[in-house]
Every structure is written in C-alpha cells, then in structure tokens.
C-alpha cells in the first residue's frame, strides 16, 4: 500500500473511526483501525464487540492498493501531530510508515486478516431520513439515556418508525424524552429497535453533512446505517439491545392542571442561576409558579442560597411549587432550538412535562417528595 492523503481530511476521519474502537479490547485487532486502499479510495474500519464503522477518506491518491491494521490510539496521535498539507502512508509487512513534513513514523501493525470482516451485506433499506433530522433527534434524546448500565434496556435509545414518522425515546427512569421527525422515504410497516447509546453518538458524528441522506436497514438483530451515497458513503452497523423498552407511553401524563409557556433562554438562565449554590447533597431547585411570576430558589446548608425570579404571562391554573433537579431541566433546555417551551404540571409529586410542539416531549419526575 502506498497512498497520499489530505492531512486535515485524514485527521477528521481517523478521529471518527477511533471513537468506535473499544476502550478496553480483549482482542488486539479491536483496538486497531484497518486501512484499505483500493479503487482510488481509502477506507478506515474500526469496531468493538457491538459496533462496526466504515469511514471513507476523500481526497486520496492511491499509488498502490493494499491494507494495514494499526493501533487506533497511536495512529490518531501520529496523524494529529502531522503538519503540512499532505500525509503519505506506506505499508511494508504490517508496518505502516507515515510521512509528513519533516516527520516520519513507522507503526508496527498486525495482519489485516485479523480484523473481523463485516457480516452479511446490507440488503434492504427500510427507511431513509435526512442527516439533519436524524442528528437533531439523536442530540435531543441521548442525553436522557441511562449512563449507568441498568435494567429495562434503558442503556440505549428506543427507535420507532411507523410509516414515515420516526421517534427516538430515551429514559433513565427519572426522566423520559420523546423526539419526533419525518423520514424522506420509507417502506410500509414499522421498524422498532433499541440502539446502544454509543452507536447513536457515533452516528451523530458520521452524519455531519446536513444534506446527506441516511439509509437505515434492518438485519438479524442489527441495524445498518449508510450515510451518503455510493462508494463515498460512511457506514455503521450496530448490534441492538435485546429486551423490552419500558412502556413509556404510560408515564407521559395525559392531563394537567397547570400550564405555562416560557422563553427558553430566560428559563434556562434562571434555573442555572438558582442551581449555582446547590450541592450534590442539596440538589433540587424549588420552582414556584403563580399567575405573574416564576420564583426559583436553590440552597444548601453549607454553601448558601439563591433566589431568582422571572415574569410569567399566561400561566393557567392554581399556583404550584415543585422541586426539580436543575441539571435535568437545563440539559433539556440547552438542546431546544425553539424560542419557547411549554411546561405542564399536575401536582408537586407528579411529573412535569416540557413540550415543544409535537417534536419534543420531556417528562421529568420531581425531587424532594418521597
């Protein structure tokens, strides 16, 4: 293998592929990136036990086709250090030599055959969604997925497609988010899957070109995403989380007694300010709503207290005081790109529901009341 690449394009692609590599791999090949140069193109492949990605590198001149398998971390570090416009790769007997301006590195690699070859090729596309839509849905859902590895298949994001309507749902048992968007084309029928959070985050990065289309195909126990068209497309295949996603429809309140619409930025700033003097031991902020004003206060015995108020218009219902973890509120508000958000409440010990149209529904359980 002998190739010449654009340094910046290469660096981005290597970084991306490195994200897929297992942090603690049992097999050395799973901590590596596989480079394949043929037909005038370079492709990077990386995998862990659940996810495999294929990242094309544009702007490459292939002088001699070939393959290499080298440790991902070292490759990323080296490419990150390279200077100049181009970087040259050359492989002799599993050793990858990287040449850039005034630099030369030789990384000892492995036999490329040790890299697990992708299983059955993607056959049937179930639906296609604009990259921009998919990214928006991912960003607005993964934050609520459980980080701790717990039950209820909550370590992933529930993906549901009915005809051309796509929903992503995530929950950690304390809050739940439902985001909706439209597919550009779809087969009849439904697609239902629980996708690991890591795959979602990678897909978000792969789908960075808003105009790309993302094709989604279902395989046996897996989903395959193809970002872009033809040989330049990036691919991600992920195992799915088995199990049943909790019956989330049941926890979305069907009715409410109080409702108010707020300016997103103003609400975000107020909650953030009220949370400054809270601690891990005294986390909650109290939100007191009445017809004209929202008072948010947060305090902890060993740090101090904050009291923030903001005017309200159009509050419907009786005044209410409800306590939330401020982090749960601000995380969501930061991701909303509309200027206004609606909050519905029923009682201090019942969930609050933040809504932006039909696209975003966020249910948060209050704190403080056992």
């Amino acid at each position: 293998m002998k190739i010449l690449c654009d340094r910046a394009v290469l660096a981005t692609a290597v970084q991306l592929a490195q994200q897929a590599v297992a942090t603690r791999a049992a097999v050395p090949a799973l901590s590596c990136i596989k480079l394949t140069a043929k037909d005038g193109r370079l492709t990077l492949q990386a995998a862990d036990k659940d996810i495999a990605v294929e990242v094309p590198v544009a702007a490459v001149e292939v002088k001699e086709a070939g393959e290499a398998l080298v440790p991902a971390k070292k490759l990323a570090e080296v490419v990150g250090e390279c200077e100049g416009a181009t970087v040259g790769f050359e492989v002799v007997k599993h050793t990858l030599t990287i040449k850039a301006e005034r630099m030369k590195f030789s990384i000892l690699g492995f036999d490329p055959k040790e890299f697990p070859s992708p299983k059955d090729p993607v056959t049937k596309t179930e639906f296609t969604v604009p990259a921009e839509t998919l990214r928006r849905l991912i960003v607005r859902s993964v934050f609520a997925a459980a980080t701790e590895n717990t039950r209820f298949a909550m370590g992933g994001v529930y993906m549901e497609r009915k005809a051309k309507r796509l929903r992503l749902v995530a929950t950690d048992g304390r809050r739940l988010v439902v985001t909706r968007g439209d597919c550009s084309s779809a087969t009849d029928g439904d697609t239902v899957a629980i996708v690991p959070t890591k795959a979602m985050n990678l897909l978000n990065r792969l789908a960075s070109q808003p105009d790309d289309a993302v094709q989604v195909a279902k395989l046996e126990g897996r989903l395959a995403f193809t970002v872009g068209e033809g040989p330049e497309a990036a691919k991600l295949v992920t195992n799915l989380i088995e199990g049943t996603f909790p019956p989330f429809e049941d926890v979305i309140p069907k009715e409410h007694d109080r409702k108010v619409t707020c300016d997103v930025q103003q609400l975000l700033a107020s909650v953030r300010r009220a949370g400054i003097l809270t601690t891990e031991q005294s986390k909650g902020v109290k939100m007191g709503f009445n017809a004209t004003e929202l008072k948010i206060s947060g305090s902890s015995p060993d740090v101090g207290e904050a009291e923030i108020s903001m005017p309200l218009t159009g509050f419907q219902g009786q005044p209410i005081e409800i306590i939330f973890n401020p982090g749960y509120v601000t995380e969501a508000l930061r991701l909303v790109d509309s200027s206004e958000i609606t909050l519905e409440m029923k009682a201090p010990n019942k969930p609050g529901v933040f809504r932006v149209g039909q696209e975003f529904t966020y249910v948060v359980m209050p704190t403080g009341q056992a």
Partner: protein, 592 residues
C-alpha cells in the same frame, strides 16, 4: 445446721473478698490511706509481685500509738463521723474496712509515728489475730507491711496470677492513682529495682506524660471545660488526650479519675469514645487521662467496696459534658499525623517518591509525578504568604491548604505543602470523609433529597432483605429512599436518594448491601446507625484511588480538607492526610 452468727474474723474475711482481691487492691487501699493521711511522698515495695511482701511507706500524719488498735479494727475510721459526712465524702476511704480486711487475710504490720509524736509504735495482725501495740523505731509517717497474703486461704492464694502479672496490676493501680495526684511523689520498687519514679509535679500535664509515655504524650490535646450540673453544683474536667493515631485496641490506655479517685465509668468512657468516633478505627480506645471534678453531692461513690464504680445523679448531663469537652479539644486541634520516616520507609528506588537522594530529583520521575512542577508549587506565593503569617500566629493557624498549589501523584495522592511540611492526602479517604460530613450535616437539616421514579423499579430480594426492610423504613425515608416490599421476594423502589444518583452509585445496590449486612441494625442508637449507613454511602460515592482528578476537583477537595471538621481522618478511622515535616526533609537533604 442451726442458724448462728458468724465469728467476727470470718465476717472480715468475707468482707475482705470484696476489697482485697490481689496485691494491686492492697496497694490501692494502702496508698489511698496514705493520701488521706496527707502524704507528699509515697513509696511502695514489692516482693514476689506482692504475693510475698508489700510495703507502703508514707510521710503522712501517722497514727498515734493509742489509736493503732482501733485502726486495724473493722468499721473504724477517722474519715467520716456521720451520715451527713457520707453524702459528701472528700477522702478516698471512709468505710473503715481496708486495714481490717487486709489484716484478716495476711500478716499485717502497721508501724507509725505521728508527726509531732516523739516515738513510733507498731501493731501486728496475723490473719485476724490481733497482737498488742509495741514501741518501735520509725520516721514520721506510716509504714505498712503485708506479708503472706492469703497465707491461710489456699483457695484465694491459688487465684493469684504469676508474679509479673500481679506486679503489672500494681503498677497500673499506682499509676492511675498518681495521675490524680500530680503533687505527690510516687516510687515503686520491685525486689531491689526502682520500676516507677514519679516526682512531684506542679504541672499535671507532666505527670500525665510520665505515666502515658512519651509517644502518647507528644502533641497530646488538653481537654479543659467547666459547667454547672445544677445551680451551685459545678462540674469541671481537665485532662490530656492523645491524638487519634495513638488509639489502642486495649482499653486501659484511657484512665479516669473522679475527684481524684480512680474510677471506671462506662458512661464517661462511652462519651469519650463517641467524641473520637470517625477518627479512630472501630474497636479501638483513645489513650489519655481525664480528671473530673464534681460536686460530691452529684455522685454516689459508695456503690462498690473498691469504689472504682460510681453512680452519677445525672449521668446524661455528665455524659454530654464530657463528650462536648473532648470533642471541642479535637475540633480545635490540627489532627494531621506526622509521617515518621525511617530508613526502610523511604524507598531508594521504585515507589513514586524518593527521599534523601540528590540524584532522584533529576532521574527519578515516576509516572504522574513531576518534580519540576512540585518545586514550582512549593515555592509558590501561597506558601510564602502562609509562612509569613505563621510568624504572626504560629499556633492558631490550622492548615490553609485550599489556596495552595497541588499535584496529583500516582492517581491516588494529592501532594501539597503547608508551613509545617509536605502534605500528602489520600484522595479517596479525604473525599469519603468530606462527603460523610456533608451528608451528616444534611441529614440534620432534614431528610436527604429524594428523586421520584417515572415508574416503580421492581427488584428481586431475599426473604431476609424484605423482612429487614420494614424495620429499616424510617431510616430509609431519612436517606431519601421510598422502598416497599413487593411480596416475599421483591422490593419496589419508588424513589431514590438524589445524592447517590448524582454520584453514579446504584441506590438499590447500596440498599441491598446494607440490608444484607451481618451487623445490620436499624433500631439501635439512631445516630450511630445513621452514621453507619452514611458511611457506606460516602464510601461508595467517593472518588477512588486510581481516579484521575481534574485540577478543579483537586482544588475543591483540598478546600474541604480545611473546611470540614475533623477532616484528617476518613470515617473508617484511617488517616486522610500525612505531613512530612520540613525539618525531616531538611535533615534528609543534609541541610539540618
């Protein structure tokens, strides 16, 4: 057998069983008599650990010849005369039993010369058989000799232990008495060796140091407090308590006196241990000495013939008084232990830190430790400012570490310095301590915050866990849990503590661990049980050894070392921080 009155000698022998158990109790009785007689120098001589011979000499008031016969008779005393006196006993003895009891179980010789008397006289009692008073030779004061202890009572004599054991108990008894009377000189001779020499002291702290030993006495804390149990009924305490690191498994390093009398009182001992809780490992007892002065009307010392147990009129008030006094002393002290560096403790190679070799600074850069940065950190402006301040207020400065530069070494240790030396902090132990204190403070303000769940979480459980759950419910509510039994084999969780979620600890895992513990107890002393669970929570939530910390996290942790009361020990009693004194480092670098 018809009922008959017992012969007087048998009565005395039975009574002696309560007072005279072994040589140490004989010494205690005789020394206390000497103190009651106003002695300023007391000398004790033992042979065969006291089994063969005990001699107590004092320079006290002495007994006139005509009173000698009465002195060895039962229930004869010069110390109290009426019931009134008994209610406010100011002397050690008052029952008038000691000499008669000892005389009934040994061969006792009392030789005494009243200060102003011209001549001495002597009387002997051999296992209850009193002989007549004879003139004798002797200096002013009293000399009492006890030989053949339990000589006519083989059963009692058989119960005496080996010579060193009995001698050890004598030393213990004598030291204890001596702690309460620093103004009196005590010497102990065993055979012909002087084994204890306590000169009269003006400063009671010196006496405590002499008895407790140099190690425990170094940097001991002074406990001093005064209060009133009732109007006109004062209580005060003075004492020296060794630092937590000196705590011992054996309880006898902790001595108490009450109005000068050596006592054992479970309530007061408990109060002291409670004050040390969290600073010492469970099961250990702090070392030290406390002298409590109390209005004699507030205490009944006539509970036990040996008078080592007392009964307080207001035990709870005494408990809380002592507890507060000791806690206050601990709080104001800088409890960080100094690290004694021995040759073996300083690795010449390997390890993350090298002491003493000049080359290590240049070459010994173990992972995660940058000597260049260290040097920079230590020369930083904060250190200079603090040193300057130290000149102004040397003793008052606790340890303002927060403003200092620091390093994380080996992903386990935080290294910084203060005016006294290089400070090494165990990140897990400190964080655990900090969170424990915060949680405890937070529980005082009300139940911990609780995060409700969208839908109840059903978890499998053992029958034991379910059974204990009911008992644990009130405590669990304080901790922010809402958990109910969901049948004989499952728990239903409706809400979890916010704190645990924030620290990414699975609340159910913690809950089940607690419910399954061998020493599970949800009903006992509320605060102690709560402390135990909070300790578990803090331990699980704390950063672990091996966690890389950001600069901000380190800064916050070290700030808390300054802020949190007693932060120098983690809740398990392990130290959180150690200091290598500058003088030690200077010595090692050949600058000393």
């Amino acid at each position: 057998m018809p009922i008959r009155p017992l012969p007087p000698n048998l009565v005395n022998q039975i009574a002696a069983g309560e007072v005279v158990e072994r040589p140490a109790s004989v010494v205690k009785e005789l020394v206390e008599n000497a103190l009651d007689a106003g002695a300023t120098r007391i000398e004790v001589r033992l042979e065969g650990g006291g089994r063969d011979r005990i001699e107590v000499l004092d320079d006290g008031g002495g007994i006139p010849a005509e009173e000698l016969a009465l002195a060895v008779a039962p229930h004869a005393t010069s110390k109290i005369a009426s019931m009134e006196d008994l209610l406010q006993v100011g002397t050690y003895g008052f029952r008038g039993e000691a000499l008669a009891s000892i005389g009934s179980v040994s061969r006792l010789t009392v030789t005494s010369c009243p200060r102003r008397g011209s001549s001495a006289s002597s009387i002997q009692v051999d296992h209850g058989r009193q002989e007549s008073v004879r003139p004798a030779a002797g200096n002013p004061g009293t000399r009492i000799e006890v030989t053949n202890l339990f000589g006519e009572m083989p059963a009692r004599r058989k119960f005496l232990r080996s010579e060193p054991t009995e001698a050890g108990r004598v030393v213990e008894a004598l030291e204890w008495i001596a702690l309460g009377r620093p103004g009196v000189a005590f010497t102990l001779w065993q055979e012909s060796r002087k084994t204890l020499d306590l000169p009269a002291e003006n400063d009671p702290a010196r006496r405590v140091a002499a008895v407790l030993g140099a190690e425990a006495a170094a940097d001991a804390l002074t406990v001093e407090a005064e209060a009133a149990l009732a109007p006109g009924s004062p209580i005060s305490v003075w004492g020296r308590m060794a630092r937590p690191a000196q705590a011992k498994v054996a309880a006898k390093g902790l001595r108490l006196t009450l109005n000068g009398r050596a006592i054992i009182d479970r309530g007061v001992l408990h109060a002291i241990r409670e004050a040390y809780r969290g600073l010492i490992e469970p099961g250990r007892t702090p070392v030290g000495f406390l002298a409590i002065q109390i209005d004699p009307r507030e205490v009944d010392v006539n509970v036990h013939p040996a008078k080592s147990e007392v009964r307080f009129r207001q035990p709870a008030a005494v408990h809380s008084f002592v507890h507060r006094a000791v806690k206050a002393a601990l709080r104001t002290a800088n409890l960080m232990p100094e690290m004694p560096i021995t040759e073996t403790a300083a690795p010449s190679s390997g390890g993350f830190m090298h002491f003493g070799t000049a080359t290590s600074r240049a070459t010994g850069s173990a992972p995660g430790f940058d000597y260049g940065t260290l040097a920079q950190a230590l020369d930083g402006p904060a250190a200079t400012a603090a040193t300057a301040l130290a000149h102004v207020q040397p003793a008052e400065l606790p340890m303002p570490i927060a403003s200092r530069r620091f390093l994380q070494a080996g992903r386990m240790w935080l290294v910084t310095s203060d005016e006294q030396g290089l400070v090494i902090v165990d990140q897990h132990a400190l964080h655990e301590r900090v969170m424990f204190e915060r949680l405890r403070a937070r529980t005082l303000a009300g139940a911990l915050e609780s995060q409700a769940l969208l839908s109840p979480r059903i978890e499998p459980a053992t029958a034991l866990e379910v059974e204990r759950l009911e008992e644990a419910r009130p405590l669990l509510e304080r901790l922010g849990f809402d958990v109910r039994a969901g049948g004989p084999r499952s728990l239903v969780v409706h809400a979890e503590p916010v704190f645990l979620i924030e620290r990414r600890v699975d609340p159910v895992e913690l809950l089940r661990e607690w419910l399954g513990r061998d020493d599970f107890d949800a009903a006992g002393d509320g605060e102690a049980v709560l402390a135990k669970v909070l300790d578990m929570m803090a331990c699980k939530a704390a950063v672990k050894a091996g966690d890389a910390l950001s600069e901000r996290e380190i800064a916050e942790l070290l700030q808390q070392l300054d802020a949190i009361e007693r932060a120098t020990n983690c809740p398990h009693g392990r130290p959180t921080a150690m200091r290598i004194p500058w003088r030690e480092i200077e010595r090692r670098f050949g600058r000393g």
